[in-house]
Subunit: 249 residues, 2 copies
């Protein structure tokens, strides 16, 4: 791998029309499947959508983010106990994976594979973007991709050759997210210190102005990630887990 690939990465939302070669994609996916997996069960699936029709069907459920139809490849990473359950049933074994813990286990599997695929792709010069909309609209993505019971989409990644070179996103200082030995809770002075750089950035201040808010935090709570939306999509997601057979405990 290129030396600074992890440190220098940026999310890519604009791709050239050049397709991603099948052989290259397979190589990347193979690397992804070397990621750790609970008990070596590999309880995940990856749906590779390249066709215009499927991408167009998916687009509204990703709130029409341009990457969905603009990227040559859309990867939907799913928590998947369906395949494992079918194997068990054919082998005189009674699967007990229709519960919440099993969903979380499978979601962890899917996410470790997703991130490994992304790193392998970036190492080849490809660009990626995660779509958080997957957990909001899982019920609709299930319909489009025809996911059977035992399968829940957890995240989506768009993939292609970069057609932009954006600024790298800012991050909080490392000390903001690490704790030594045990968790040290944040005093007001800590929060002031840890968020000061972020708040002072020109792009943050512009963001506040554009949204007619007083503070950057209000842009998150009142505009981007609102309570009413979170509550609404929480209910839907819990219903999805029930419908897909993961809430029998």
């Amino acid at each position: 791998m290129k030396d600074d690939i992890l440190l220098s990465r940026r999310t890519i939302r604009k791709y050239t029309s050049k397709p991603v070669d099948d052989e290259l994609l397979n190589e990347i996916l193979k690397k992804g499947c070397r990621a750790s997996t609970t008990g070596n069960m590999q309880v995940y699936s990856i749906v590779i959508s390249k066709g215009e029709d499927v991408k167009k069907e998916l687009a509204p459920f990703h709130f029409n983010q341009k990457m969905v139809t603009g990227a040559p490849v859309v990867l939907t990473f799913c928590a998947d106990f369906n395949r494992f359950n079918r194997w068990c049933e054919m082998r005189n074994a009674r699967p007990g994976y229709d519960n919440f813990l099993s969903f979380i286990t499978a979601a962890i599997d899917a996410l470790l594979v997703a991130q490994t695929v992304c790193i392998a792709a970036e190492d080849e010069g490809l660009g990626i973007c995660y779509l958080g909309t997957t957990t909001y609209m899982a019920h609709k993505i299930i319909e489009v991709l025809r996911l059977p019971p035992g399968v829940v989409p957890v995240t989506t990644v768009t993939l292609g050759w970069p057609d932009e070179y954006p600024e790298q996103a800012d991050r909080l200082p490392l000390e903001a997210v690490i704790h030594h030995e045990r968790y040290q809770d944040y005093a007001p002075g800590d929060i002031e210190r840890l968020y000061s750089q972020k708040e002072a950035r020109a792009d943050s201040q512009q963001f506040v102005r554009e949204n007619n808010k007083e503070t950057l935090a209000q842009v998150f709570t009142d505009v981007r990630y609102k309570k009413e939306d979170n509550v609404h999509f929480s209910k839907i997601l819990l219903q999805v887990l029930k419908d897909q057979g993961f809430m029998n405990q």
Copy 2:
């Protein structure tokens, strides 16, 4: 990065007594924090436990797997809205992140960071092992690490210099986990084909004999990942989400 680091990796459960240098660990964690994060909120925390006392306290809640006290570093990756909520409250913003969707959002953040940290560590020659016990015993890990409301441990990684070079774990053929355009469900013939190599392995057959079972699948359903345990730990985990303030929807 070394070229074949993703393809040649193996999980390491035995470590030398050589400590992991602080500077190296920080570099690895910094790379981890370049991973994608929802809306750049960074709603995760990493608890770094190196002290014998904390590791000994954690060990029973990881079912005394030898890696916990045997590794120089234990990393607990947490879904964390606590820091973000505190920031919002100090900035006249009303956080609405006490719901299930927000937990999933934060868990995704934490897992993408975890896997990036693991890859960065392996690229330095370090060995890692994920502990799936974290979601079983989250309530106890919360006590040991003193995690406040808004924080839930999602996975744990042990880290150190390898003192073994185990065989690489087997994986299903790539075609088992990928689907083109939409999900193609598995017919019995598919399952036979996809699991045949795994079942034919000498270590799989030994595993079946040692556990006095008829099939490999039964080792999973009757011994390793039993329904009664999954149901039990599902109830506990859902209670943890409630107790930590993520089930108000």
